[in-house]
Structures are given as C-alpha cells and as structure tokens.
C-alpha cells in the first residue's frame, strides 16, 4: 500500500533547487521547479549513478545548424556521470525517450494542520499548524 512521507518543510527547498532524501531505502530527489514539486528516483537507468546529484538544465532545440533555442519550462536533471538528461516533470529521457524513463513519485504539499488531524502524522518534525510540508508518496 502506498505510503506518504514528509520529506521537507515547504520553505526548505528553494525554487530551482532540490533535496536528496532517503525514503524506504530509496534515494529520491525532490525538486522545486518554479514552485511546483517533483520527485524522481535518484538512480540513472543507464548505469546506476546517483542521478539527482546532477545539474538541473534545460532542453535546447534547433531549427537548423547554428541556431540554438533554450526551451522555457523544460527543466531536466542531467546525470552526473554520462550526462543523460531526464525531464523533471515526466521522468522521460531526452536521449532515448522511446525506451528510457525515470521512476517518478507523486508529491503533495500539506499544512501541518492537515497532517496532525489525519493518519499522516509527521514524527520527525515538530509539526506546527502554521507550517506547510512537502510529502512524497512511495
């Protein structure tokens, strides 16, 4: 059965940054992309590198040689080893999109109030009703 884990306080992961967490034995990268959160398994399907330690980059397109266009809202994680790039939002690989994708996880933001009331009690944080928290579902 899927479980949800508190991985950060809302303000902890600034836009454009990420946090590496260990959840249920898996290393997961949690990314803040312009205020929206995404979580990806930090293991590159190519050769097993800790993918989410890589850089956040953007896709570049071209109509013809010599012409370069940076695509807005196209954030990808670039594997720190062989440079394979994966779309943060979808987990799709840029270089072999037919065959390779990353495992991604649902992320939600909840207020402390919601967490205290439901079965989703955060034990690791002194949860305050005035704070919000980022959760990942495994």
């Amino acid at each position: 059965m899927a479980k949800r884990y508190v991985v950060a306080k809302l303000g902890e992961i600034a836009p454009g940054t990420s946090k590496l967490v260990n959840v249920d034995g898996k290393e997961i990268g949690v990314f803040n992309v312009g205020g929206a959160f995404y979580a990806l398994l930090s293991k590159c399907p190519h050769k097993g590198a800790e993918l989410c330690k890589g850089k956040i980059v953007r896709r570049v397109a071209s109509d013809e040689p010599g012409q370069y266009a940076v695509i807005p809202d196209s954030e990808m994680i670039r594997c720190p080893w062989h440079g394979w790039q994966y779309d943060l939002r979808t987990g799709q690989s840029w270089c072999d999109s037919d065959n390779v994708a990353l495992r991604k996880y649902a992320v939600s933001v909840e207020t402390g109030e919601g967490l205290l009331e439901g079965p989703f009690v955060a034990e690791s944080y002194a949860v305050s009703v005035d704070e919000s928290y980022v959760l990942v579902e495994i």
């Binding site: 479980k3 949800r4 508190v6 290393e27 720190p80 690791s124």
Partner: protein, 366 residues
Amino acid sequence: MSTLLEPLPPLPKTRLSVVDCDIHPTLTSEAEFLPYLPARWREHMQTYRRHVRQGLHGTLTHPRMQVNRIDAVPTKGGPPGSDVNFMRTHHLDQNGVEWGLLQALQPSGSAERNLEFGAALCSANNDWQIAEWIDKEPRLRGAIQVTQEDPQAAVREIERRASDRRFVQVSLSPRAQEPLGRSRYWPIYEACERNNLPLGLHVPGFGSGYASTPGGWPTFYLEEHQTFAYVIMGVFTSMVLEGVFERYPKLKLVLVEGGFAWVPALCWRLDKHWERMRSEVPHLKRPPSEYIRENIWYTTQPMEEPERPEDLTKLIDWIGWDRLLFSTDYPHWDFDDPKTVFNVRMTPEHRRMIFSENAKSVYRLP
C-alpha cells in the same frame, strides 16, 4: 502514517574485488606540485608555464562538456580526484578496488615542447605520485611518466624507477611527434621489456599539434571525443606494422581508455591488406593479428555499448577474454561502475579474469 525521515545509510561494503586500471589523481592546486620540482624548474613553471602545441594556454581548444563526475567532489573541497582520503571511501572501498593503477596525466611532461622541462615535469610527477598517493594508500600503484620525444631522458627515468615496485608500468603520450612504432622510440621499449614493465598508453587531450583526424580538425566536442579511438588505432597499427613486437616479443602494451570495439575489424583489415602488401614490411614474420593477440591489452572503460547487448559478448569472444582489463576512469564523467558496467551475462571465470586476474598477470600484482 508519515514516517521518520532517515539519514542516508552507509553504502554496503561490496563483495567485489577489482583491479582498477585507470584512476586519475588530480592536483588540489599547482602549489601542491611545485615543491616536487627543482628550483630552476619551479621558477620556469611559474614564469613561462608549460609550452604546448595548441592555441590556448590553460584550456583545451575543444572544452569538455564535463570533465569529472559531479558527485565526486571531495567533502573537504578541491577538484574531484584530488583527495586520497575521499578517493579511499568514495571509490576504492565502495567499489572493492584491490589495486588501483594511477594515470597521472596532469601535469604531464610528455607534451611539453621544452624537452628538459618536460623531463623535469615527468620526474616530479613520478615523485608526487609516490608521496601524495601511493605511500598514503597501499592499494595504489603508479605509472612512470616519461618524455617520449627525448627517448634518452625517458630511458634514464625508467632506469631510475624500474626497481621500485610502487610503479607497475611506463606511461607516455600516444599523441607523439611520430607514430609510436617508429624506431626513434625503440630505446624506450627496450627498457620496458628489459625491466618487465608494461607500456600503458592513455590518450591525452592534446599533444603533437597535428589535427586530431586525418581529414582536419573537428568542430565540435562530439566529434573530438571520437578521436581518442583514432589516436589509439593509429598507435596500434604503427606498433604492429613497424615490427615493435617482432623486435621486443615480451613487450606488453596496454591501451587505456581507447575502447576496444574497433579491435576485431581493424585486425581483419590489417591481416587482409598485409597479405597483399607484405613485401613493404618484410620484417613482419607473422600476420599482424598474431602479434596483437599476444602483446596488446585493452582497458574496458569507456565500456562499449552495442545496440544489441549480445554483440558485446561477440566482441570479447573475438578479442579474447584474457585481453580486457577492467577500469573505471575515476573521477572522470564517463566513469564505469564495476557493479553496473556489464549488461551481459558472464561466466564467473570470465568475470574474475576481466575484473582482476588479467590485470594481475599483466602487471605482476599479487
């Protein structure tokens, strides 16, 4: 119920035992290296710097998209590969490295145009390997760096170090002024063979000043990266056709980071056309592929990735399971992890050979 966030557990101790035939130790900064140079050359280095055959002084003219693994930055700072303690835990322990063979490419004297300075750089590099790496971490072994363009100085350096078993091979630049099979380099091979030291050739980013392809300079790094194999193929062809292995039958040649998928087709090509033109090279008594099967080994990184995994097995079947030597290229970006590097099934014996026994045999490691 939400769960406690746990700190990342320590990485499991691996049951692997590998010989890593290509590790790149790096300087924290130039200041670390200077004390290993005599005063005269220390001043020279700080004033005139290195004088090399490319237009830019401190950067490759095809800058790399990425040099090192981003996750290999030492905890205490400094560039990847510069901290022996971090290398110990991040790589040697974690990946079961029983022996790690250093290829200390920078600063290299082999590409230096001022030959005396080049010899001093090589000697200092060799001292640095001992003091900063091998004496601090007993699993590491060094390569004697020499200036191939001054073969007499190279031989002197080899003789100086040959009985020091902290060095297990000789290293020089395959991007030399002449193809390495040419006779001017033979005194070096004589010294290697006599001292039972393999010659381990690692492709550098620059060297001779000749275009990196026979058709001129490439534009993009994508193309330039392919040229490493071209350089190695040229050296391979030269050493075979010039008769280096006929003259020095016990010389062992290790080609480092040059790949190996090209080997079968090149052997077929050499054998076939040698049949037709053997009167040009009468000093060769046997088909080229016979020398190749006896005297040449290849490190595995960067692992070849055929579209069909079974073609990798076919390649190695043809080259010989005894010819490949596992390597990681730590801490460079196209690192191969021993746990994930092979995507084909292998017999336990083949696994042991590639990961450990072949290298122990070639390098006479216990």
